[in-house]
Amino acid sequence: MSLVHKGRRITLLGLVLLAGVYVRALAFTPLERFQGPAQKIFYLHVPAAWSAMLAMGLVGLCSILYLIVKDLRFDRFAAASAEVGTAFSLVMLTTGPIWAKPIWGTWWTWDARLTLTLFLFFLFIGYLLLRGAVVEPGLRARYSAVLGICGLVLLPFIHLSVYLFRTLHPQPIVLKPSSPSLPGSMLVTLLVSFAVFTLLYVGFVTQRYALALQREAQGREHA
């Protein structure tokens, strides 16, 4: 089975499972005592943010590997990961405020998770813009790798900045951070959601990677 088909199968499976997670979260997971139904978005937001971070982490890792080995496959994977990461971040950044407005009356707060995702989004956009601005593949791969590594190193600093900021400036908590011990059923839903989002990530990246391969092959044929 070609890579594209594999990717499609995985993505399809992921989407179906995602629907399943929705159902489970809405119907089969108990209501959180203080926040009520509003809290349920948590099961989607946390894994989405996690997927975006995973995407960035892999961009960083592939960047390092590319600079060491100079294998363009790493560059291709990093690009695919960046695009998928952008999509995940964007979804999270749009659903966040849309959900927050009716519940909290405000479009945006500097919640830790939202803020981190926002800057992840900016990093991804910058990465893709840089790639768009450099034509020669070898040069593009090298420059992207430099940016990718810097982005990866930046993440903990942003996290720390937000943490320091929040401990001194308490903000309304839009998305309740996961408490250390979630009751069993909620934990299960959360973990399943994590798995599904990871699956979706794998599916999307596989598709994107396969697409990139196809495009390059076509480019060579039209020589």
């Binding site: 020669e136 593949p137 390059e216 480019g219 060579r220 044929e221 039209h222 020589a223």
Partner: protein, 234 residues
């Protein structure tokens, strides 16, 4: 003193892939001057850049005894800062090439005299005429007394008088212990100075031999045949 082994290098991918170097190997000893003739796009500049360490080739190796510090480069770019004076430029480059601080000034003055622009030492480079600016660029290339000179189309923009002067300068430079590699598309320009001649086309050396007793016209004819024929086939 200078060697290239199995150099290969290409730019771009897919349809736009250009092979600039295709298995180029040669070596030069002190006292040799190699003139590389080839049409535009033959890969001459790429070869020089690989020799200078500017480009890392996809495959193969190039070594120059003494490393970057022993190389003088004259190419399309002036390497001179417009708003600095000629002398300030020379002192800057001399410092980067590790010319000892005590001798920098004297070396700069000597080089300026050698090129006949000593009276322009305190003039800002942007205000120099093209010919004088070119001489300043040559001064920059020679300030650190390099043992290897790499020249990429050095006669571009030089009028007959300036070209003759430059040839005389090169002849003086070609003394013992020096290697010169000169790349140009015009056979007439460098052929008298060369001890060895190469024709480059499509990234490859299609000819490489000592000049021997051949006259310039002869070499020009050989070049036309070697390169012209390929063009007809292509």
């Amino acid at each position: 003193m200078l060697s290239a082994e199995g150099l290969r290098h290409a730019f771009g991918t897919g349809g736009g892939r250009v092979v600039a170097l295709d298995n180029v190997s040669f070596s030069l000893e002190a006292g040799q001057t190699l003139a590389i003739f080839g049409p535009n796009g033959a890969g001459k500049t790429t070869l020089l850049k690989v020799l200078a360490g500017l480009i890392r080739p996809d495959a193969g190796r190039a070594t120059v005894a003494g490393g970057r510090g022993a190389i003088g480069w004259i190419g399309h770019q002036s390497h001179l800062y417009g708003h600095l004076t000629v002398r300030e430029n020379l002192l800057f480059w001399a410092a980067l090439y590790a010319v000892p601080a005590a001798t920098r000034a004297t070396r700069a003055d000597a080089t300026l005299r050698q090129l006949g622009i000593a009276d322009r030492a305190e003039q800002a480079v942007w205000s120099l005429s093209r010919g004088l600016a070119q001489r300043a660029a040559i001064a920059k290339a020679l300030i650190h007394e390099p043992r290897v000179l790499l020249l990429d189309e050095p006669f571009t923009g030089l009028d007959l008088a300036a070209a003759a002067e430059f040839r005389a300068l090169l002849a003086r430079f070609q003394g013992a212990g020096r290697v010169v590699v000169l790349a140009t598309h015009n056979v007439g320009e460098g052929v008298e100075l060369a001890t060895d001649v190469a024709f480059q086309r499509g990234g490859r050396f299609v000819h490489f031999a000592p000049r021997g007793a051949r006259r310039p016209a002869q070499i020009a004819e050989e070049y036309r045949r070697a390169v012209g024929e390929k063009e007809a086939d292509g």
